[in-house]
């Protein structure tokens, strides 16, 4: 998914474009980290092919020689780095990838943890993103301070929602790595919605809906008619069989409560809110 923003027209035409980059974060000692990486690459060869990669050196205090070494080692493994984050500007010169700042996290799913906390038989498509499938220290999103992901969740103002006015057909995937997905029509059986934020469907939801696909556990799913095959928030998922049959065909919302995916009728929620206000 590429979001283009068009700046005012000058004699040259520039376009801003957001890409979702993977952030690779080496650890010291470097040799051990590289050995881990090799082991992992053996299992998933070609994982990095064609993916934009950022090297996060925050807190590592690498000097120029060390940065060059890391880049060379990665280069030997056919991993090319687009930019470097968190390095001392003195350590970088023009021959090295540029220093990037201002990256905002799109959720920091530590791939290993993400797998551990997910039910073991999670279908592959329920994985929040290809980046979070497996592997060490690979986080989707450019993260400035990976140690405390919750503290730096993207401000709502920058989230861009994606509005789909047509029905989503079987076999189609609608993906918004930047924010919410809003569908005015129905989502057919066999279709898939993936959003970094929440998902709103104003028709019937018959396909799959994966909200908070990059780890945002506050994301929710709303639909006017609930017949979904699968819903997931922040990597926790539920198939239709596991949801209460009384909710089928009803307007519902789904949210994450701790580690449990909750589904409830929207009418019910409204009623409850009403009684709560009265008391």
């Amino acid at each position: 998914m590429t979001i283009a923003t068009r700046p005012p027209r000058h004699s040259f035409r520039f376009r801003g474009r957001n890409f979702l980059a993977l952030v690779l974060r080496p650890e010291k000692p470097l040799a051990d980290w590289l050995a881990d990486l090799d082991q992992w690459l053996e299992r998933s060869p070609g994982f990095f092919t064609g993916k934009p990669l950022i090297l996060d050196l925050a807190g590592l205090a690498f000097d120029r020689a060390e940065v060059v070494t890391v880049l060379a080692e990665l280069g030997n493994r056919a991993i090319r780095i687009l930019g470097i984050e968190g390095a001392d500007p003195v350590a970088l010169d023009e021959s090295l990838p540029p220093l990037l700042t201002g990256g905002r996290t799109s959720g920091s799913v530590e791939a290993v943890d993400a797998i551990a906390r997910r039910p073991p038989a999670a279908p592959e498509t329920a994985q929040p993103s290809p980046a979070a499938k497996s592997g060490p220290r690979v986080k989707p999103g450019a993260s400035a301070a990976p140690a405390q992901p919750e503290a730096i969740l993207p401000p709502a103002a920058t989230a861009q929602s994606l509005l789909v006015e047509a029905p989503v057909r079987s076999g189609q995937t609608i993906m918004n790595p930047d924010g919410d997905v809003i569908v005015l029509g129905s989502v057919a059986s066999g279709a898939e919605l993936i959003a970094a934020g929440s998902i709103h469907v104003y028709g019937a939801l018959r396909g799959r809906a994966l909200a908070g696909a990059y780890g945002d556990e506050r994301a929710r799913i709303f639909c006017r008619r609930f017949e979904a095959e699968l819903i997931a928030i922040g990597g926790y998922y539920k198939v239709t069989e596991d949801t209460e049959s009384g909710l089928r065909h009803k307007p519902v919302q789904a949210w994450l409560s701790g580690t449990e995916l909750m589904v409830a009728s929207l009418d019910q929620a409204e009623k409850e809110m009403g009684t709560w206000r009265k008391s």
Partner: protein, 271 residues
């Protein structure tokens, strides 16, 4: 310039070929010139349903590859002389079709006929995408059951992305033709209702063709149902659908078999 219509469904066995032949014949019977083109290379059937299997010399692949002139490959129907067939090759496969060849062939047909009706193969692979590629209008054939409806939904998605019209940002017109509809079973809830199907697919309805043994009989004798037994319920339903394609406004009814006294006395021999 002809309207290019693709008859497609995703799922196999729902009645694409039967519908192609019936709609083609019904349109030709109104005096317009019609060509039906079989895109099911390797598994051709349209020639059988049209009763022309013994007259196929050249086929779509020969024309698309520029090996013969269009004139040599077109087979004129013996019953309606404005109806033509362009058969598929049975010995080749779908890879033998090139996109450029198909484009040239369709363009040539468009200049000659009022209607070009392409019978798409089942599936979503090359054959099916080539059949829909240059279409102006799609008839999506669906049986009132869940797997057929889901496959049709998939095809509608492809029609909105893989056709030249869609690529140019134009609106691809899609019409729903529900076939093998059984009023009794739908009433019992054994079958999806028309409303259910329309709700899921949300495209305009072209017609509802009732389930009937007449259809099988017609394909066995090698004639489109609208010619084999023009008074039968499915033939009348296809006739109505063809009139709607022509822009006439025809009320949506589901014709049923004639219940004559004799029929009632001797049971349901003819549906």
């Amino acid at each position: 310039m002809a309207e290019v219509l693709v008859v497609t469904s995703g799922k196999g066995g729902v009645g694409k070929t039967t519908s192609t032949a019936a709609l083609g014949a019904a349109l030709a019977q109104t005096g317009q010139s019609v060509v039906v083109v079989d895109f099911d290379v390797g598994l051709r059937n349209l020639d059988l349903v049209m009763g022309a299997e013994r007259r196929v010399v050249y086929d779509l692949i020969n024309v698309a590859n520029g090996e013969v002139r269009l004139q040599q490959a077109l087979i004129r129907d013996k019953r309606v002389d404005t109806l033509y067939l362009l058969a598929a090759s049975q010995t080749r496969d779908k890879d033998a079709l090139s996109e450029e060849g198909v484009r040239r062939c369709i363009l040539e047909l468009q200049n000659r006929f009022d209607w070009v009706i392409c019978d798409s193969p089942a599936g979503i692979e090359r054959g099916a995408t080539l059949a829909m590629r240059y279409a102006d209008l799609a008839v999506v054939v669906t049986n009132p059951e869940v797997s057929s409806v889901r496959d049709s939904d998939r095809i509608i998605g492809l029609l909105d992305s893989k056709t030249v019209k869609a690529a140019n940002g134009e609106r691809m017109e899609k019409l729903l033709l529900v076939t093998r509809y059984d009023k009794v079973r739908a009433g019992r809830g054994d079958m999806l209702s028309i409303d259910d199907v329309l709700e899921i697919l949300s495209i305009p309805l072209l017609g509802i063709i009732p389930e009937s043994e007449e259809v099988l009989r017609a394909s066995n004798i090698g004639a489109p149902i609208t010619m084999a037994s023009p008074q039968s319920a499915p033939a009348r339903a296809y006739g109505d659908a063809a009139r709607r394609l022509n822009g006439e406004s025809v009320p949506m009814t589901i014709p049923s078999g004639r219940q004559t006294l004799l029929n009632r006395l001797f049971g349901r021999r003819a549906a």
